[in-house]
């Protein structure tokens, strides 16, 4: 049984069709990387799965529990959408931490408002997560006092604070320099080792190859190629994939 089943997702903005019939599945504990050029629909796909956009067509199921089905007549209520979102965590490209709250408060805000647990337990879990991303000394710092890499690590911890079944990353290192990128990739690798189910939209090809169980290459709103990372990245079958990866392959041989 797949933890995530995505079938026939379509999404248009006005006349531009951004997603054309996207389907894939993900097993529990797997890491999926989505690669592709800018404008290929990767981010829109992630946003549809997190209900930041509503897909025009298709079906999304988590653990055989249907979250979204365009053929169903029942309209999604705001409450159902919120419930759906709690299956997932999302880490943004530009962190989106809450600037007026400390690191610890960024983690505890949502669990407290959603009354997930008692305050002591929420605080304890938040502190454990801060420790896990190596920022225990920064628990009482404000986001503006942190580096980009530290902010992104807080954002990962914040997404984990609600115990999501699947964690999504939308280009988590694109706003960071190469040195800071390393610390984020290390945290994600750590989570992969713990068998956290993750979907990562990324431009870091070497990282995608090393960390993922499965890679999807998207172009023009369709999945061009998918499979094991060594197949898709090292030995692409489609011309479009080969072209996209040519620069990466060149660098590797140097």
């Amino acid at each position: 049984m797949s933890i995530l089943e995505v079938s026939n997702i379509r999404k248009s903005f006005g006349k531009t069709e951004v997603l054309k019939d996207i389907s894939f599945t993900l097993e529990k504990g797997e890491v999926l990387s989505i690669i592709g050029s800018s404008g290929s629909g990767k981010t829109t796909l992630l946003r549809c799965l997190n209900f930041l956009e509503t897909a025009d067509c298709g079906r999304i199921a988590v653990d055989d529990n249907v979250l979204f089905d365009s053929s169903s007549k029942i309209k999604l209520t705001d409450e159902k959408v919120r419930e759906n979102r709690l299956n997932f965590g999302l880490v943004f490209q530009n962190f989106n931490l809450f600037p007026q709250y400390t690191v610890l408060q960024n983690l505890t805000l949502a669990p407290t408002l959603l009354k997930k647990d008692n305050i002591a337990a929420i605080n304890q879990r938040a502190f454990e997560l801060i420790k896990k991303v190596g920022l225990e000394e920064k628990a009482d710092a404000y986001p503006c006092q942190l580096s980009g890499g530290q902010q992104q690590r807080v954002a990962i911890a914040r997404a984990l604070a609600l115990n999501p079944k699947i964690l999504f990353f939308d280009e988590p290192t694109s706003a960071l320099d190469p040195e800071l990128t390393g610390e984020i990739l290390k945290v994600i690798k750590g989570l992969a080792a713990e068998k956290m189910t993750m979907v990562i939209v990324t431009h870091e090809m070497a990282f995608a190859r090393d960390v993922s169980d499965k890679v999807i290459f998207m172009d023009g709103g369709v999945i061009v190629e998918q499979g094991k990372p060594e197949d898709v990245i090292n030995n692409p079958q489609q011309e479009r994939t080969r072209h996209f990866l040519s620069r990466f392959q060149e660098n590797k041989t140097i």
């Binding site: 997190n50 209900f51 919120r82 709690l86 989106n96 600037p99 805000l109 408002l113 503006c144």
Partner: protein
């Protein structure tokens, strides 16, 4: 009249200025928020009505609005509402000008609420979408996101334009003398007319200056208090 007597007489007028200031701020600042939400509404009709109201209120001189509020009940319904309040309050309680001041308070509150609403709207719309989205993916409701995440960032951003507007407000209270409300300038003009003293008119500037000084210090304190985060 001695300097102290003049000062006391002017201060009596300044109390009315302060009253107009305080009521306008206490009623206008909250009233601005629903107007701001209407201006940002998804419903086109609500949005259009709100935009037209803001356009009219900001587009007409405040002095003219005071005249309109004061005279319109008499012209439309042949009932001098504010004159009647003036008479009633004077005869029953010995309070003068109550009706005129009410008319001024209505005009000021409406006028400033519209200006405040545009400051709020600008502040709310300047917060990046990502802040809302970060709240959404954490399963929060729209109202939780606004109250717990957006509001404080908006307040931080609107302190400078709001203090600007509030400083203008205390000086605008002088417009109340257009319908003979005894605020500070009106009292000073009365001294000029009845006692042939012109210096009290210029002296009123000191009252405004001191008060604006206090407002400037207060707004600086608020800015400093909110400087612990950047947004």
């Amino acid at each position: 009249m001695s300097f102290l007597e003049v000062t006391a007489f002017l201060f009596d007028g300044f109390k009315i200025s302060l009253l107009i200031f305080a009521v306008t701020l206490l009623c206008g600042a909250p009233l601005g928020l629903p107007i701001a939400f209407c201006s940002m509404s998804r419903f086109k009709i609500v949005k259009s009505i709100s935009k037209v109201v803001v356009w009219v209120v900001r587009g007409i001189p405040l002095m003219l609005q005071i005249f309109i509020i004061y005279y319109v009940p008499g012209l439309l319904f042949d009932y001098q509402l504010f004159g009647q309040i003036d008479r009633f309050m004077y005869l029953e309680y010995g309070i003068s000008d109550a009706g005129r001041i009410t008319a001024v308070l209505i005009a000021f509150t409406l006028n400033y609420a519209c200006y405040f609403s545009e400051i709020y709207r600008g502040g709310i719309e300047s917060i990046p979408r990502g802040q809302h989205e970060a709240g959404y993916v954490l399963g929060l409701t729209k109202s939780q996101i606004f109250r717990k995440i957006i509001l404080k960032q908006v307040i931080k951003r609107i302190v400078p334009p709001m203090s600007n507007e509030i400083i203008t407000l205390i000086k605008d209270t002088a417009l109340a003398n257009c319908i003979m409300v005894c605020e500070i300038i009106k009292n000073a003009k009365e001294l000029a007319a009845t006692k042939a003293m012109i210096w009290p008119l210029f002296f009123t500037g000191v009252f405004y200056l001191v008060f604006v000084g206090i407002l400037t210090i207060a707004s600086g304190r608020i800015e400093k208090k909110l400087s612990y985060f950047r947004s």
